[in-house]
């Protein structure tokens, strides 16, 4: 049956048809839907893990236990899981093991633009890279067999445009092999030095065997066209090349970017007049060509930054631009922002008002960085706020301690904030950590996590008690505030910053977009009472705007959180007032 699926759903379908028995992942754009779609199959085990390292180790354990397994993560998640991956390359697998990693060229929703292909090269693990949903399904399905045949984990590289584009696929039947027996084999699975020394040559020999496989494997193919121009490409850039050239160029389409073939590339290069390599991000295939003694045109013409498109390819080849029209007036930018009624806003307003230095973290609450709140000072990676504040306070000394906080969401705290908090307690850091607990993993689209009390299927699960956890690691001062109450936020923040010991403030209120959260009727502005002082505008709420010098509240956006009402010194905002 023909279906229109996003790349991530096609991956989940491919893994399912390929006989997956277990998936464990941590959400991360643009990889999240792979696991979400897998969770809809009741005949496999699916779960959210607290972070990518845990997820990958769960998948490894399941493979060891004889069941085909997978995990999915965004590119930076692979940094967290890099430790098990490097050594899983040595142990190999029992049942097939597939690691889906989604890169985000152009950083639609990420903090860097790293190219995961380097991990495949560094860990000596084969990598497949689909260019559309049909390939995403086929490659994921084939990945388990590849994994078992070569006794290795297999990386499946997605990127935003494949992960989140829908294209037509033909779905097939699930073929689930019997679980493999587990046979104790220390020489293969206990990676202490004596054993690891014997496994490393196995890895090298495997890479050679895989490179030979790459010469004729179905993942790489040549599409002959005009031979004046020969293009080696992979992933979405393949689509842009075909869009621009059709069969007016010859294409070597690489579906397995690691290890790369040798003879296939040399043969292709010999049969075309001018050789190009078109790949997003880093020159991985180009460098390989240079090692083979070729001199292709690659990054001298194409940027290592951002996403490409048919326009990028056409422009690089000097093809004419299409005519365009634009309005004369400037179009003001529309950056993402915290939603109307977002529970993070009240706490950020308090931090901004008190001119606090804020070490931030990864999540919706990174949006506290944009004007008018401009409350965040740094954002690095998952958990870095809690670890970083300790170093910052040590460097800056006593004066900073009373003016600095770390902020981190509930899910991110579970992911890698806990160890930082242990460090704060253990090393007697006079630091204040604010856990912005909105009871969900928000930015990636509402996934459950160990603090929510529900598992991936929405069934009740053990719930981490954040207050007890913080106390258990040695934090004596743990306070809970409602971020809709500005006076309470201000008072508690000042008290905890003044305290001469580590403290945690849990700013708790569920995400306003959660289905179970009941919102209040919109507020209104009494234009007679409004003095246009703009104090409410300091919240940066999308529902509040100035029109004809008076404040208005958009009734289609306002959820009646009443935070702006608390700020108005003239009683102009409330349930009464003018109709819009």
């Amino acid at each position: 049956m023909k279906k229109l699926l996003i790349g991530n759903e096609a991956v989940s379908r491919g893994l399912y048809e390929g006989g997956i028995g277990l998936v464990s992942s941590y959400p991360g754009t643009p990889s999240t839907e792979i696991t979400e779609f897998l969770s809809k199959y009741d005949d496999i085990h699916s779960e959210w893990a607290p972070n990518e390292k845990v997820a990958m180790e769960v998948a490894f354990g399941a493979s060891l236990g004889g069941v085909r397994s997978a995990c999915a993560m965004k590119h930076v998640g692979l940094n967290v899981a890099a430790d098990p991956l490097f050594t899983m390359s040595y142990t190999g697998v029992n049942a097939g093991l597939v690691i889906c990693v989604a890169d985000d060229p152009a950083m639609h929703s990420s903090q860097n633009e790293q190219d995961s292909r380097h991990y495949a090269v560094a860990t000596k693990v084969p990598m497949l890279e689909p260019a559309d949903s049909a390939e995403a399904l086929a490659f994921s399905k084939a990945a388990f067999e590849l994994s078992e045949r070569f006794d290795t984990p297999v990386l499946l590289r997605m990127c935003t445009r494949v992960a989140h584009s829908q294209s037509v696929v033909e779905v097939g039947e699930r073929v689930a092999p019997e679980p493999k027996p587990y046979i104790k084999n220390g020489a293969k699975y206990i990676m202490m030095p004596a054993n690891a020394k014997r496994r490393h040559p196995v890895v090298e020999a495997r890479t050679e065997a895989l490179a030979e496989f790459a010469e004729t494997c179905p993942f790489n193919r040549v599409e002959w066209g005009d031979r004046e121009i020969g293009i080696i490409t992979s992933g979405t850039p393949y689509q842009y090349v075909k869009e621009v050239f059709g069969d007016r160029a010859s294409v070597l389409k690489i579906g397995m970017p690691n290890p790369l073939p040798k003879r296939l590339i040399l043969d292709f290069a010999a049969k075309v007049k001018r050789l190009y390599v078109i790949e997003e991000l880093d020159p991985v295939m180009e460098t390989h060509c240079r090692v083979l003694g070729l001199d292709p045109i690659g990054k001298s013409l194409f940027s290592p930054i951002g996403e490409y498109s048919q326009e990028t390819v056409a422009a690089a080849f000097g093809l004419p631009k299409k005519p365009t029209v634009s309005p004369e007036s400037a179009t003001p930018a529309r950056p993402p922002m915290m939603c109307a009624g977002c529970p993070h806003r009240g706490m950020y307003y308090t931090l901004s008002k008190n001119k606090i230095t804020v070490l931030g973290d990864i999540g919706c609450y990174t949006l506290g960085a944009v004007p008018p709140l401009s409350a965040v000072d740094s954002t690095l990676c998952m958990g870095a706020s809690v670890s970083g504040i300790h170093g910052f306070n040590l460097a800056q000394g006593k004066t900073a301690e009373g003016k600095t906080v770390a902020v981190i969401g509930d899910s991110t705290f579970m992911h890698s904030g806990i160890t930082g908090l242990v460090n704060i307690a253990y090393n007697a850091s006079n630091s204040t950590v604010i856990i912005l607990d909105n009871s969900i993993t928000g930015m990636t689209g509402h996934q459950q996590n160990p603090t929510t009390g529900y598992n991936i299927k929405g069934d009740p699960a053990a719930k981490v008690d954040l207050e007890s956890l913080c106390r258990a690691v040695g934090i004596n001062r743990v306070r809970v505030v409602d971020p809709y109450n500005l006076a309470e936020c201000d008072r508690v923040l000042k008290e905890e910053l003044a305290a001469e010991e580590p403290s945690v403030i849990i700013s708790r209120r569920p995400c306003v977009l959660l289905k179970y959260v009941k919102t209040a009727p919109p507020l209104r502005v009494d234009s007679e009472k409004c003095r246009s002082c703009r104090r409410c505008m300091g919240l940066g709420c999308p529902a509040i705007r100035i029109k004809d010098k008076k404040v208005q509240i958009d009734p289609t956006l306002c959820v009646g959180c009443e935070v702006c009402e608390q700020l108005c010194a003239f009683g102009a905002i409330g349930k009464g007032g003018d109709a819009q």
């Binding site: 643009p30 989140h164 037509v168 029209v325 309005p327 999308p542």
Partner: protein, 190 residues
């Protein structure tokens, strides 16, 4: 069969997802090769969002670039102007006249360019400006703006009315079929 390019643009949270789902369903049923591309994540939080829908005999690229869109369907006025440079020569803009202020306007650093559609019309761009919000409310819910706009788009296609309605019935939850059917009829016949 030439590839047709449709862009659906708006503000995160406005419901463009259903519109692209509906189009995808309809066009696959018509036997076309289809690609639909959108970006999730950070851009959903009140930011500018864009979905590309391309269909024809064989579609390669999932994205639409400058000067290529045959139709731009915009859920919001400013967004129509923002993406206008993607419109192909002779292309059509369908726009909901609702204004949603972006943060620079909210905090008073920029003016909302309320007359911006006029500037495009003056340059010969075909603009179908509709009060889709009022039409959706008339149908029973502000959330039906997406279906009203799809109805305006449907008028430019040879695909019969009934097939659009059938695709709506396959796309939305059963309890919302009547509402969306009403919204489609209002938009189509307005």
């Amino acid at each position: 069969m030439k590839t047709t390019n449709i862009m659906i643009v708006g503000v995160g949270g406005q419901g463009s997802l259903l519109a692209s789902k509906l189009l995808g369903r309809l066009l696959v049923d018509e036997g076309c090769d289809v690609k639909v591309s959108e970006v999730h994540g950070m851009s959903q939080r009140g930011g500018s969002v864009v979905t590309y829908v391309r269909f024809g005999e064989k579609v390669y690229s999932p994205v639409i670039t400058e000067g290529e869109a045959d139709y731009i369907v915009s859920f919001e006025k400013l967004e129509a102007a923002r993406w206008a440079s993607c419109l192909a020569k002779g292309g059509q803009i369908i726009v909901n006249t609702q204004e949603i202020a972006p943060m620079p306007v909210i905090i008073g650093n920029a003016e909302y360019p309320s007359e911006i559609l006029g500037e495009l019309t003056a340059k010969g761009v075909r603009v179908d400006a509709v009060d889709a919000l009022s039409m959706a409310m008339e149908a029973g819910s502000a959330k039906a703006v997406n279906i009203v706009l799809m109805a305006r788009l449907a008028k430019h296609f040879e695909i019969p009315f009934e097939k659009w309605v059938a695709a709506i019935e396959k796309t939305v939850a059963p309890k919302f079929i009547a509402l969306n059917r009403r919204a489609f009829e209002i938009g189509y016949h307005a």
